[in-house]
Amino acid sequence: MTLTLRKYMLAAASVLAFAATTPALAATELTVQRFFGACDAEFGTNTDASKAVGECGIITSLINKFNADNPDVHVSVTTVEWPGYDQLTAQFAAGDPPDVVTVHHSVLGDYQSRGLLMPLDDLLNSVGISPSDFTDASLSGVTKDGQIYGLPIDNWTMLFHINMDLFKKAELVNADGTPKLPTSVNELMAQAKQFKEKTGKPYFVQNLANEVALYTRNLYTYLFQQDSDFFADPKQVKLNTPEAKKVLEMYKAIYDNDYTTKDMDYAASINAFLAGEGGVHLNGTWVIGDYNASSETAGTALNAGGYAVYPYPQLFPGKKAQYADGHSWAVSQKDRTPEEAAAIGKFLKFFNDNDFEWSRTGHLPAVKAVLESENFKALPHRDTIAAVATLGTPLPSTVQRQFAIQDIIGQEMNAAITGQKQIDAALADMESRINELLANI
């Protein structure tokens, strides 16, 4: 009898063991690491991305859908605090990186230059994705040394978010109802002055405290527009130039004449714009959804006269351009079985195919066909900002440590604009600090 019992128990145990190991045997495990937060409560089990909203909701739903559609692959997601590079660097250093990870286009070069990322040309080719599918801005963002090191999923940039009610009061509206935007520095100053006189409020809402990115992106944009090739040599920046001085002088004049909000951090600036405290909020593609929703809610400042959003106006007579960055899926360099490589290919292909869903976040699609599709154009305000996909210009792909460079530029620009430092001194320090940084890579 004991023998029978033992037999039963063994059988039961093996059934259990089989049940437990079956998915692992059949499915290829893929570790995916991403930022964008967690939203399990709302979208934890949702597989219909079209029903999701926001970066977190859409990416969660897309990955759920991928897992549901592909029983032979199991994607396990680790969410990291934005931007997650401290953690990623530590993982690479410990020799234990995730398979697929979100990386900004501007950061790909850092990891790629140390041979930590896998070139994706062959893999993308094997699943039928061609580089010519991507928009120019996206393709140049992920191409390093002639090879693709990340699947681009979007481009994002800073935009002019406009409170049309205040623009109407300031009489800065064209006959067709569109906002009148400046075409030169002088015109910007004149319009800002007019705006302040008519509305009593500053033209710009900017987050100037606890901030470096906004300053830097503004500088890059207006340097591009002057054809200033400040990174002709990716190891040696030239910022102590008349072009850069013009940009800083412009922003200093805006600051000195109170054409902008002061002392605000990021969250305060959003509050200020939504409360109608200024005409133009300089912020990214990612707030379009929220601002649009606010403009459709009765009683809000944006509902009073409408909300519009535009790329940065061309203020200088050079190339039509503005600084852009983007998100991509990068793949760590590792020995992998053909199954694992194929699973990664499938995952990338899936995101490429669903780029439209992702573009609902407000970011611009990385896939040309999506950009040109009716679906995309039908999304709110996309008609006015689609131009960014061609205007969008990253720094040269071989420039490393772009986050560190951004910190330096932001600090020095802040000092110059708020009058703590002479513009010339700030530009000289900016240049020498960046070059010291780049010389020591």
Binding site: F35, F36, G37, A38, C39, D40, A41, E42, G44, G54, E55, C56, S76, V77, T78, T79, V80, E81, W82, P83, D86, Q87, A90, Q91, A93, A94, G95, D96, Y266, A267, I270, N271, L274, A275, W286, V287, D290, S294, T300
Partner: protein
């Protein structure tokens, strides 16, 4: 018993003024915390447009439900309890033993070793972070509990604190016990350790607290979702723009992560202020 510090009986006018002042200051101290709790009970979208909405209804517990719905949150709580709990217990044991040893016993190179440990107090975490990370990579300690616990055991703060407290205990006590032929360990355990209870409680709470809120080491060592501590885990659920679009959620996370320590404090605080000293010295 009303006032141990002054040794006075009853309440004088001065006493009352001091009390009023501490209460007034406590209200100022408390205000931001009350504000955090209030924000945690508000809808995120509402806060994004109007921060002042925190002062009126509607309130909601949706943010807390959101936290509890996060798939791994209970695992993270468990991880934090294990890491902080084990670290605290081990720190108390190691620090008490070493504190007693340094304060009361003589052994070769004692003073040199004590000075070395005290110099260790001056070592900033950053000076050892990278080396520890490389060491633990080599030992394959990353993404394990011992990998998260061990670095905290080297902190000299506890030894410094316990050495000071053991020194403050009158020597007659253990010399008397020694004549009683009690063993060294027995004196430590039965006679002196109970007298350090206020210090033990203080050290325990702050070891637990700093481990619970520790950010940097767990971030770069426990990098897998299953090994996140609560601090890292909840930080990972925030979106890039949490401070504008998810303020209520952020605050509910703060309350959620801070509450266990406050409860622990309330539990331990009776050991910090008791009549222990009077009873022990007789």
């Amino acid at each position: 018993m009303s006032s141990v510090s002054s040794g006075m009986v009853g309440r004088s006018a001065g006493d009352r003024i001091v009390l009023m002042l501490t209460i007034a200051m406590a209200i100022v101290m408390m205000a931001p915390i009350a504000w955090v709790v209030a924000l945690s009970l508000k809808d995120n979208k509402e806060l994004m447009t109007d921060m002042n909405s925190v002062f009126h209804v509607p309130y909601t517990i949706a943010n807390y439900i959101n936290i509890l719905a996060t798939s791994s949150v209970f695992r993270w709580i468990l991880n934090s309890v294990i890491v902080s709990g084990v670290l605290t217990i081990l720190t108390l044991v190691l620090s008490s033993l070493a504190g007693y040893g340094f304060a009361r016993l003589n052994f070769p190179f004692r003073n040199a070793l004590l000075i070395l440990v005290l110099l260790g107090l001056a070592v900033p975490e950053q000076a050892v972070l990278i080396a520890r990370h490389q060491l633990f990579s080599w030992l394959k300690f990353h993404n394990t509990y011992h990998g998260l616990i061990l670095p905290g055991l080297a902190a000299p703060f506890g030894v410094f604190l316990m050495t000071q407290y053991f020194r403050a205990i009158p020597k007659e006590l253990d010399e008397a016990a020694l004549l009683d032929n009690a063993s060294r360990f027995k004196i430590f355990w039965k006679v002196l350790l109970p007298l350090t209870l206020p210090a033990q409680a203080t050290l325990g709470i702050f070891t637990f607290l700093s481990s619970w809120n520790d950010y940097f080491w767990p971030l770069i060592s426990g990098t897998k979702k299953e090994m996140y501590t609560l601090t890292i885990g909840i930080a990972s659920t925030q979106t890039n723009f949490a401070q504008s679009e998810g303020l209520g959620f952020l605050m509910s996370q703060a309350v959620f992560a801070g509450a266990p320590i406050l409860i622990l404090y309330l539990f331990f605080q009776k050991y910090i202020v008791t009549a222990v000293s009077g009873a022990a010295v007789r």
